[in-house]
Amino acid sequence: MPNPVLLHKTGPQVMQELQACIGCNECLLACPALAEPITIDRLNHETLSGPISGPVARFARACYQCGACVPPCPVGLHRDAMMMWLKVRLLRSGGE
């Protein structure tokens, strides 16, 4: 049976991963979709709450969930799941 709900991690899990992020930027260095300089602090901050700035919103749209950010993470976190959450927030805040 194909499994349709492997999209993401749940909110608490994503929240936990954001807290565990050590800010080494490895995921952003590996990202093929990142076109402008974004720092990890801003990305984490805006994934969590608050308004989403222009560069981060453009990055969220450019992200195509290739998963290249996952293997380089030294602490084994899932930036793709966090990006998914950012996209959801972007859609909900009417950013489209």
Partner: protein, 659 residues
């Protein structure tokens, strides 16, 4: 107990001080624990006056990322832990001063420049300081004998690198090996001195240690085990070499001591009431110290290790963040949030191309502990199991397992009989497992079948075993956590009645939101609930069937609530409550999905650079492979070409220079 009367602070009269100020919440230290606590406290208590007193002259940085800073992958601006200006935006006052003493009776602190600060709640988050070479070691003050701990140390290291050809690294821990890899990246000959016979003897077994050491040797490092430094030789005050206990001299221009850190506890000695301390300031699970209204978090706080019963600090990034959040909840009187279990320790890192993960205590041995090891696929994995429950996991290999998911399995005491093999072989797909588990749970609860679930499914209803050590602590915390539940059972019944018939109307969701606020704040709420139900059979058994059905009602009411669309959203706000059973991702409008993801040929580099992607089902989101547009792709290729030039290895976290 939090409602102590505010003490009057008569210091102006008493000591003739020129200035006096006060804060509701006073935090000493602006490391990650201090700032996280301040931000969390601001979120929980919007009106309190929050002040951070620090000696650090730069904003809070991601200290683990200093390793990347050392090898030039990051610039200083990229180290910030929170965006610049966060303190001001959150109305957190930062004062640059040295705190000299704490007057706990009258509740104020005094800085070294005679500035008084009254407080209502005080958080000590002074962090730790590196040990360095032992006192009395000849030559320990020579120029070139350094520790790596703060930003200044790494700036100093980068300045020295050009004049170093040989370096000695002392220490047998994670910090030491990461330093070794960083120096190797710069092409420096590294001599690594380890006091014991193996690397990280308390966390890794011999096999794992040998794999790691072999990996380091292959990268060009010379490893000396059972070796200590007895003295440093210098020439005109600068390092020329070290002398080991084997009467051998190793010439070098740089000595880096990575022998661990000590909590900075001088304030504990300058407190008018005795602050209990051992190896760190002793705190309970709510981060309260032995003195009322004084809390401690981060590297300086010594929590009880649930396994050994000893109080010891956990000098880890994630532990500091988690403790800071709990401390903030305690300080603002949110006892429901403060009753959060920290769970077992975990540590994950990449050492070049080798990734290392330890969760819990994989080396634990005993009569009822089963140990499994596996060396297939070039890696090494070791599991310690008690009665179908994982208590420790150790993995070395090319791919990093989902560390937090494994921690969750240990913390919540999931039965692992169905996943033992995957865990052992390193092919465990945590996302799939947890997602399926939640689906089973939700189905069972919706159909009212939860108490009589068929065995064999990975669900929560378990025979209550003789609880092993890690479970007892979680049982204790859950007991505490379950206490507030009966108080809010009334509103949840209402909520069920209101929300079920009209789940899609925003107007109806207004009173529901209000009631939900009384319950607790996310994201711990969901965890607490699942914990009460699944992870802890002892609780539900002891409290009988009524307790359980009440909890199930609460679960059911949660489900129709989740899809209600809400305009503004964040992971932090109550609106954003996520049910682990529904996932609560809204259905995306079709045109939006298509405009965001355009199906075009696969981007080759991405597929190649992510060898584990297929195993983790990362592409299973959409069923189709979605990539950016062609012209963008070429632009990206240019970008990545530049990147390769800047970082020769391109495989990130491999410090070793190739070619």
């Amino acid at each position: 107990m939090m409602e102590n009367e505010r003490a009057v602070v008569p210091i102006g009269h008493q000591m003739g001080m020129p200035q006096l100020d006060r804060a509701d919440i006073l935090i000493i230290g602006n490391g990650i624990a201090g700032l996280t606590a301040a931000i969390e406290a601001r979120r929980l208590a919007p009106d309190k006056r929050i002040v951070i007193i620090t000696e650090q002259i730069h904003p809070t940085i991601n200290t683990p990322a200093l390793k990347q800073f050392a090898i030039g992958k990051l610039e200083r601006e990229q180290l910030l832990a929170y965006p610049a200006g966060t303190e001001r935006a959150e109305r957190i006052h930062v004062v640059n001063a040295h705190v000299a003493e704490i007057h706990a009776n009258s509740k104020y602190i005094k800085t070294s420049n005679n500035y008084g600060f009254g407080y209502d709640k005080l958080l000590i988050a002074t962090g730790s300081a590196p040990q360095g070479l032992p006192e009395g070691t000849p030559g320990r003050n020579f120029d070139g004998v350094c520790t790596l701990h703060r930003l200044q140390d790494y700036l100093d290291l980068r300045r020295r690198l050009t004049e170093v050809s040989d370096a000695v690294v002392i220490g047998g821990g994670v910090h030491a090996i990461e330093t070794v890899m960083g120096l190797l990246y710069w092409g420096i000959r590294v001599h690594w001195l380890i006091r014991g016979a193996t690397f990280m003897s308390r966390v890794l077994d011999e096999t794992a240690s040998e794999i790691v050491l072999e990996h380091v040797r292959n990268n060009g490092c010379k490893v000396y085990t059972n070796t200590e430094v007895v003295g440093v030789v210098g020439r005109i005050g600068a390092v020329a070499g070290v002398i080991t206990n084997h009467k051998e001299m190793i010439p070098c221009q740089l000595v880096l001591t990575c022998t661990g850190t000590n909590p900075v506890m001088t304030l504990a000695d300058h407190c008018t009431l005795p602050l209990k301390k051992e190896r760190g300031i002793i705190v309970d699970d709510q981060l309260r110290t032995s003195v009322p209204d004084i809390f401690a978090a981060g590297d300086v706080a010594a929590l009880k290790n649930p396994l050994t019963g000893k109080y010891e600090p956990r000098a880890l990034w994630y532990a500091a963040v988690a403790q800071a959040r709990v401390a903030a909840a305690s300080m603002t009187g949110h006892d429901d949030l403060a009753n959060q279990s920290f769970g077992v320790q975990w540590h994950a890192t990449h050492l070049g191309e080798l990734s290392m993960l330890t969760v819990g205590s994989p080396l634990e041995t005993g009569p009822n502990i089963m140990t499994l090891t596996d060396t297939s696929q070039g890696g090494y994995r070791r599991m310690a199991i008690i009665d179908d429950r994982l208590i420790g996991y150790l993995a070395l290999g090319s791919a990093q397992p989902d560390s937090l998911a494994i921690k969750q399995i240990i913390d919540e005491g999931h039965p692992i009989r169905d996943i033992t093999k995957e865990l052992l072989k390193g092919s465990f797909d945590a996302r799939r497992y947890l997602s399926q588990r939640h689906t089973y749970m939700a189905q069972a609860m919706l159909t009212g079948k939860l108490p009589s679930l068929p065995t064999g499914k990975p669900t929560g209803k378990l025979p209550a075993p003789a609880l092993p050590a890690p479970m007892t602590t979680s049982a204790r915390t859950s007991q505490v956590r379950s206490q507030p539940l009966p108080a809010v059972s009334m509103p949840t019944e209402n909520r069920f009645g209101v929300s079920a018939p009209m789940p899609a109307q925003p107007a109806a969701s207004m009173p529901i939101q209000a009631q939900r606020d009384t319950d607790a704040l996310n994201p711990w709420r969901v965890e607490r609930r699942t914990d009460t139900l699944m992870a802890n059979p002892a609780i539900s058994l002891s409290q009988g069937p009524t307790r359980q059905t009440d909890a199930i009602d609460r679960m059911q009411t949660q489900i129709p609530l989740a899809p209600v669309p809400v305009p503004a959203s964040s992971l932090l706000e109550e609106d954003e409550e996520i049910s682990p059973f529904t996932g609560s991702l809204p259905a995306l409008p079709r045109q939006v999905v298509e405009s965001t993801l355009e199906p075009v040929p696969v981007y080759r580099d991405a597929a190649q650079s992510a060898p584990t992607a297929s195993g983790r089902n990362l592409w299973s989101y959409s069923g189709k492979q979605a990539v950016v547009r062609r012209e963008r792709q070429t632009r990206q290729e240019e970008n990545s070409a530049e990147k390769v030039e800047r970082h020769p290895s391109h495989n990130l976290w491999s410090y070793v220079r190739k070619g």
